[in-house]
């Protein structure tokens, strides 16, 4: 059967780019849309491809991708984490405290901050696993708890006397590619390997696809939920570290609610299923790039200030609908061939 199918597919001639678009994966569709947008924006405004603009865009995308990954690991289990931003701002102020007040060496402060993020995520996971309450409700409550606790402890005062090395790293770039983007790529590679080449990753996806079946297969789903939330917290902390490096200061006004929407946008556009069981690290990267490209392109085309949000929504909707249409066409073609 498999060889017949293979023969059938191999005998079907390609009808060029249209056929390639339909047959390709969702990620390929996203990449195609991205390339088209880049060509359009750069031809309408050469400043789009300037080193300044690309560097700015990649720096912003670098943080957004990691924020998206922090949400993605929880989406994989079929849950969600509305406290990604709150954990982020706690991590930002933690690293500021470790570096400026406690004068810890940078590597220790980074590890400690990741630990803080992991701990806050672990608390979420334990609360969800022990109580059985939906992750939406638990993380909505914990978001307020974490943010409120941070404000009480820090009194909203920013810390801007951090070691210069952190800020220098945040501004470093290799041509148009910022150092922060390389950190994101490294995190992406690790996550991809974890999800697709380790037992734990497979267990997370299995628990998200069908928690009951996974439990009956011997996977301790509650433990998986705790692990996923801990990992989410650590990734949120990683994004917070990158943002602090970018700004050169620890500020209580960053992250927070600003991260909630981007945390869903990148992975969902990239093909991560909201219902769980399916993730795509490459898709999350492309999704974040798509949003940043549209935003940057509209700015550089000098679309009127208050029209920006409207056009951003229109472009995003068009991109997603094109991708869904393409996926539907592909499915129909496959069914016809059978």
């Amino acid at each position: 059967m498999r060889s017949c199918l293979n023969d059938k597919f191999s005998r079907t001639p390609s009808r060029g780019i249209a056929d390639l678009l339909i047959r390709g994966s969702a990620r390929f569709g996203l990449l195609f849309i991205l390339l088209v947008l880049w060509i359009v924006f750069s031809s309408l405004s050469p400043g789009f491809l300037s080193r300044f603009n690309l560097g700015s865009m990649f720096r912003s995308v670098a943080v957004d991708v990691v924020v998206g990954c922090a949400q993605m690991v929880v989406l994989a289990t079929g849950g969600m984490n509305l406290s990604v931003g709150a954990i982020g701002v706690c991590a930002v102020m933690s690293v500021g405290y470790f570096l400026q007040v406690l004068n810890l060496p940078l590597p220790i402060a980074i590890l400690a901050t990741l630990g803080v993020g992991g701990l806050l995520g672990w608390l979420n996971g334990v609360a969800i696993a022990k109580t059985g309450v939906n992750s939406f409700v638990v993380t909505l409550a914990s978001a307020s708890l974490f943010s409120g606790g941070m404000l009480i402890l820090t009194k909203g005062v920013p810390l801007n006397a951090l070691p210069p090395a952190l800020g220098s790293f945040g501004r470093m770039s290799f041509g148009p590619v910022p150092a922060l983007a390389l950190v994101t790529i490294a995190i992406g590679v690790v996550l991809h390997i974890a999800f697709f080449h380790t037992t734990l990753g497979r267990q997370i996806l299995a628990a998200g696809a069908n928690a009951r079946a996974a439990e009956m297969s011997g996977i301790r789903v509650n433990r998986i939920v705790v692990v996923a939330h801990s990992l989410s917290g650590m990734l949120a902390a990683a994004a917070a570290l990158m943002l602090t490096a970018r700004l050169g200061a620890a500020m209580p006004s960053v992250a927070g609610d600003d991260w909630v929407l981007p945390s869903f946008l990148a992975p969902v556009i990239g093909g991560t299923a909201l219902s769980g069981g399916e993730v795509s690290v490459v898709g999350a990267i492309l999704g974040a790039l798509l949003v940043a490209t549209i935003r940057s392109g509209l700015l550089i085309l000098q679309i009127g200030d208050f029209w920006l949000q409207l056009f951003l929504g229109v472009f995003l909707l068009a991109a997603i609908m094109f991708e869904r249409y393409r996926a539907t066409l592909m499915l129909r073609q496959q069914v016809r061939r059978l």
């Binding site: 405004s45 400043g47 789009f48 300037s50 300044f52 603009n53 700015s56 912003s60 909203g156 920013p158 801007n160 800020g167 945040g170 501004r171 970018r246 700004l247 050169g248 200061a249 500020m251 006004s253 960053v254 600003d258 935003r295 940057s296 700015l299 550089i300 000098q302 200030d305 208050f306 920006l308 949000q309």
Partner: protein, 344 residues
């Protein structure tokens, strides 16, 4: 024959065109942009001022661009996008006094001068200087005027602005200082923050008046929208007992002064800030630099502060204050270069 007539006609037409069509030449090819922290009526004064400065000083391009929301990321994205489009000098109200500094550092390394207008960045900073209202002095002056209008005794409430505004903390301290100088005759009943937002301000001011109207003798509003909201609330209440001193010169507040509901308002100088700011940016982008020995004012935020001036508007000068501010702006522009900049 036909060809030579056509050629001659074209040549003549071209000659007339060159002679009589307005040929626009610019003294400076700089591209300047003014970028506020987000949408706010205060910055409306920047638009005309920038256009006037571009016309008066022959600047080829002077834009006013607003971030879509009061978020640092929205502002930095806009600034970087404008830089990518060739803008080579920026005047901005910082979306965050600390967070904006990394963007300024990037601009500095690309030889793009930037100045803070109407609000300052926190030192150490790569902003050349801060050109803004001495908000501490303005709030202090406004509170003193309020206390005088109350007869020197009673309880006052301070309606303060956005908590993320770098000026809010300074204004709070100024009000407290003015109150402390009355040796207990005047007390500060409450400071209500985040009233510089239409919806929140409305709720908070009306809740205050509903619960404590009889205890309050005066209101000092150090934010634009809270001044407007407080004026409307007092007018709706029909209460002229409670004295109000606001900030800025919205028509509603000025009408309140006319009708006796508002004792006065401290008019800032957004026009002057943008006019002189654009002028100085053009000079900085053309190679001038800040003069180390200039008469900078040191504030809690920065060591390079220039006061853009304020006027206390009351019934006595309500018709003349705008001319006062414009005269002040032009006076500052005339002496600005020699006082604050070193040009080759």
């Amino acid at each position: 024959m036909r060809y030579s007539i056509a050629r001659d006609t074209l040549a003549t037409a071209f000659g007339f065109a060159v002679a009589f069509l307005p040929a626009q030449s610019f003294a400076s090819g700089n591209k300047i942009a003014l970028v506020p922290g987000g949408p706010h009526p205060y910055f409306a004064g920047w638009v005309q001022a920038e256009q006037d400065a571009a016309k008066d000083f022959g600047i080829s391009s002077a834009e006013y661009k607003v971030p879509t929301e009061w978020k640092l990321q929205a502002q930095t994205e806009l600034l970087e996008s404008l830089a990518a489009q060739g803008v080579n000098a920026f005047g901005f109200f910082p979306g965050d006094p600390v967070g904006i500094n990394s963007t300024l550092e990037e601009f500095k390394s690309n030889n793009i001068p930037a100045i803070a207008i109407a609000g300052c960045t926190q030192d150490p900073t790569d902003a050349e200087f801060c050109f803004a209202t001495d908000v501490y002095q303005a709030a202090y002056m406004g509170t003193k005027a309020l206390i005088q209008s109350m007869g020197g005794k009673g309880a006052i409430v301070h309606l303060a602005g956005l908590l993320v505004d770098p000026n809010t903390n300074l204004r709070e301290k100024a009000v407290e200082k003015a109150v402390s100088e009355t040796n207990g005759a005047v007390t500060l009943l409450q400071t209500i923050g985040d009233t510089d937002d239409q919806e929140k301000g409305d709720q908070k001011v009306n809740a205050l008046l509903a619960s404590k109207k009889d205890q309050v003798g005066g209101i000092i509003a150090t934010a634009y929208i809270s001044s407007v909201v407080a004026t409307k609330a007092l007018r709706n209440l029909g209460d002229k007992r409670i004295k109000l001193v606001g900030i800025d010169d919205d028509k509603i507040v000025l009408d309140g002064i006319h009708d006796g509901f508002v004792a006065g308002t401290v008019a800032q100088n957004p026009y002057g800030q943008a006019y002189v700011g654009t002028y100085s940016l053009d000079l900085l982008a053309s190679g001038c630099s800040v003069k180390p020995g200039a008469p900078w004012i040191t504030t809690p935020q920065t060591a390079h502060f220039i006061d853009s001036g304020t006027v206390l508007v009351t019934l006595s000068n309500i018709d003349a204050y705008k001319e006062e501010l414009k005269a002040l702006s032009h006076k500052m522009q005339k002496t600005f270069k020699d006082t604050y900049l070193a040009c080759k």
